[in-house]
């Protein structure tokens, strides 16, 4: 369990890997080729980052016919949140996160 959590934090510690997660969040189920498009990274670098993300189960790869598609798996982050945040504060934290997003949106616009 502890080792698994280490893998998740390590995988999340690089901006390139968080960018890959963002890309999957926007469009889930992409091939390596699709993920490499519009990215300032070599195919080799993306492959390496995806491997670490998969070892942390933050990304799951599934074969669909002849294509290997990559999906964002929120479960490890959910489990971490559950461990330290728990049920009781969630409602209030969500309200605060929504308020922050709203205020920042107004500032940006």
């Amino acid at each position: 369990m502890a080792a698994d959590v280490d893998k998740v934090f390590k995988a999340l510690a690089a901006p390139e890997r968080r960018l890959l997660l963002d890309r999957l969040r926007a469009d889930n189920g992409q091939t390596l080729g699709q993920l490499c498009e519009h990215l300032d990274m070599t195919r080799q670098a993306v492959t390496k980052h995806l491997k670490l993300l998969q070892e942390a189960t933050l990304v799951v790869a599934i074969w669909r016919g002849r294509e290997k598609l990559h999906y964002l798996n929120p479960m490890p982050i959910h489990e971490i949140a559950e461990r330290w945040i728990g049920k009781y504060e969630r409602g209030r934290l969500r309200a605060l996160a929504e308020l922050k997003a709203k205020l920042e949106e107004e500032t940006d616009g």
């Binding site: 189920g29 189960t57 799951v60 999906y71 479960m75 559950e82």
Partner: protein, 153 residues
């Protein structure tokens, strides 16, 4: 691609047999799956439904494929919201893979329709259920709030 889907994976310190029982038997699902049970004979072609604590049907469908302790595929239609019922059947797959002293559970839920409201709702509901299932099997206790049906749903 005219499709909506998600793939969730959780690694649980348990055995495929225990996990299978937890996913299918009422005494377990009541504890982590919002106090609901499933009615099903668990064989190919059998009808399947999720029964709310008040006895009404939350979701229904049928068993498409079943390989005990390894794989289950269900046709799955929601009945809680008319706009989701209208979307028809989704397809939900459990895959259980034993890895050392853990089991990797993969949940795939898909519908041949872009921007499915039901798949979006299900993708928001599953993490809490799965996290609670993991907790129940590893610690003997499900997570707070997952042992009762949400008010108003």
């Amino acid at each position: 691609m005219a499709k909506s889907e998600f793939v969730y994976v959780t690694i649980i310190r348990t055995t495929p047999e225990k996990l299978w029982r937890a996913l299918t038997e009422p005494e377990f699902t009541r504890q982590f799956w919002l106090n609901s049970i499933q009615e099903c004979e668990w064989k190919p072609g059998a009808s399947w439904r999720i029964v709310k604590p008040d006895g009404s049907t939350a979701d229904s469908g049928e068993v498409v494929e079943i390989e005990p302790f390894r794989r289950l595929v269900l046709k799955w239609q929601n009945h809680l919201f008319p706009e989701m019922t209208a979307e028809g059947y989704s397809r939900m797959t459990y895959t259980l893979e034993e890895k050392g002293d853990t089991v990797k559970l993969t949940v795939t839920h898909e519908m041949d329709k872009s921007d499915s409201k039901f798949i979006k709702a299900a993708s928001g509901g599953w993490p809490q259920i799965l996290a609670s299932l993991k907790s129940l099997l590893e610690t003997g206790h499900s997570l707070a709030g997952t042992d009762r049906w949400p008010e108003g749903l």
